[in-house]
């Protein structure tokens, strides 16, 4: 509406990085709670952590890392002007996201099946630290999962724009920013995974 075309790719990327900081800080609040409660309930956290399925967690880590690779390759592909390959790679990323969510679904429903969910009778009856652990687990992975879904939708929308020719080698900042967002989703998982599945 302002009547002139002003493009500042560097500025757009700067803005995206600032936004990613805010996302890190959002999860930072949860990591802070994790640190405090781990100090208070080391044994209950260990018991809780052992109940998580590290095999499924590892598979999901591999899936997310692969999806990030595909997203990074999509950026290179569009810079080379290969629109079809870009779309295919973005499709791969989204497919990985779907796989990640499917495994998450399996994990969560098995926990639900054992009566483990926030506010459940099972957790209320158990030691308090375990309830804290699983509440944090569900919140962290839940909010992360929400980010996976948002990221996948974002990349899908971008893929349509690439296919329509709106984004191309000369104008791809939207794709670069979308990929940055996806790497953030990946990065947060890289912290969640060891904290909940491995070190306890």
């Amino acid at each position: 509406m302002s009547g002139h075309e002003h493009r500042d790719d560097y500025g757009a990327k700067l803005g995206m990085w600032l936004f990613l900081f805010t996302e890190l800080l959002l999860f930072g609040g949860l990591f802070l709670l994790y640190a405090v409660y781990l100090k208070r309930y080391p044994h209950e956290f260990a018991t809780g952590g052992k109940q998580l399925n590290w095999v499924l967690g590892s598979v999901n880590t591999v899936i997310l890392l692969t999806s990030s690779l595909a997203a990074a390759m999509a950026v290179t592909a569009i810079q080379r002007g290969e629109a079809r390959r870009t779309v295919a790679l973005l499709g791969g990323t989204i497919l990985c996201a779907a796989g990640f969510m499917a495994i998450k679904y399996v994990e969560w429903s098995s926990k639900f099946g054992h009566g483990i969910y926030p506010g459940s009778e099972h957790l209320k009856a158990g030691p308090p630290g375990e309830s804290v652990f699983f509440s944090l687990y569900f919140l962290s992975t839940g909010i992360h999962g929400l980010h996976v879904v948002i990221g996948a939708i974002l990349l899908g929308w971008i893929a349509f724009k690439v296919r329509g020719g709106e984004l191309h080698a000369g104008n791809n900042i939207l794709l670069e920013n979308g990929a940055l967002y996806w790497h953030l989703v990946d990065l947060i998982w890289i912290f969640i995974f060891p904290l909940y599945y491995l070190i306890l």
């Binding site: 509406m1 500025g11 700067l14 709670l33 308090p128 309830s131 509440s135």
Partner: protein, 537 residues
Amino acid sequence: MSDMQQAATSFWNDTGKTGLTSWIFSTDHKRIGLLYFYTTIGFFLVGVVLGLLLRIELMAPGRTIMGPQTYNALFTVHGVVMIFLFIIPGIPGAFGNMVMPIQIGARDVSFPRLNLLSWWLYIIGAVIILTSLFSGGGAPDTGWTFYVPFSSRTGTNVSLAVFGVFIVGFSSILTGVNFVTTIHRLRAEGMTWFRLPLFTWSLYATAWVQILATPILAITLVLVMAERVLGTGLFDPTRGGDPVMYQHLFWIYSHPAVYIMILPAMGIVSDIIPVFSRKPIFGYKMIAFSSLAIAAAGSLVWGHHMFTSGMSDTAVVVFSFLTFIVAIPSAIKVFNWISTLYKGSISLEAPMLFALSFILLFSIGGLSGLILGAAATDVHVHDTHFVVGHFHYVMFGGTGFAIFAAMHYWLPKFYGRRYREKPAIIAWGLMFTGFNVLYFTMQVLGMRGMPRRYYDYLPEFGPLNLVATVGSWILAAGLILMLVNLFRGLFWGEPFVGNPWGGATLEWSVATPPPTENFEGEPVATHGPYDFSGVKK
């Protein structure tokens, strides 16, 4: 708006679009700024009415006009509306949007559409907050701090209100991202960092606080919702949680948020004082850096809200010490403003009167803050009316009066018409008097032991409460006079052309009102923001 007879070159009409949709879907920073202005000032008036009702209730002991539950709801809504819907978005959203891009010589902000989205998110959040008052279990009654465990148990509509605040917080983050990027990327040729007007510097520091602090509020509010809806128990002691953790998370945001509210107000004052003293600002760099210092140090002092919450003594001492550190950059600003006035050619027009009262009222608020920041004295006045008086001195006497100063200083620029000076000064006098009668009395009441947020009180507090309530009426009378005079002037007053204040910042070099593109051609900054040598009044 069509009855305004301006040259067809201003942003009011030069795109040929003047309908409602050309405003609420505009990406022009000036239009968005005015949208923010009207909506924030609207919510301010809502908050004022609630505040007046609270004062009437406290006028005499026992029930005066409402029951205790209504009272609890009203002080909660008063706080939520004033803080989240007025003060936080007030200066960056309204005056930051209107003025900052012109001050740095830009045509717009870096992300104009994101800017519009910010305003819409603000409106959506506000609508959700308002909905929460009239639906579900009724208006929240937790106080604006939403402290657990009460906020996770009360039957009132806390979840929806908290969700609304979450959305408003998102809007605040996007404004912060936008402003930091804009100030980095869109400064005109010659507009070096040390030629930036101090208002822009203060917005820059504020934007960083918005970016770094607001996400913590977001996750805290999500946790409150999870506590209520899912029963996560993270703050529930019977389930292993810790309510003090909530207070930590809440204040990690909400103390820096105080600086989101006060920093841009200090920027307004730093811009107005040199103009009405006809002198370059004293200690430009120190004022600019002190904004950053306040933003940084202010992020590390949240624990001083929790001296009586059961923290370790070590934590209390450390937070108390850090709190005193913040006083240093704040005092640097005050001394530099005073030094700017020294031997200046001072003209006491309305913007200057409001800016000067900012210095006095903010200083009273800041010094009473030290009484609260020192652990030994805090335990005596914690949760009393002394606290209420203190933060109203800072937030209303500080930020509020700075907003009034900005309204008298900048709005004529954007309307091309001005208010009448004499009623503005009478209004200022009424407000200044009423303000002190109201809030100084509160501080005395607090010193004598009257708790805050109590519906009823001992009869011995009666006379002073009556005085405070009368003060609130004087304040309200001044406020009404000010707004009537201001808006009458802006729509039907004398023309405001050229550079009547004699400002040297870039916004005074463009047409009045500015055209949509702000500048004809590319602006070049050739002198500092307070170099008045070449400025003709």
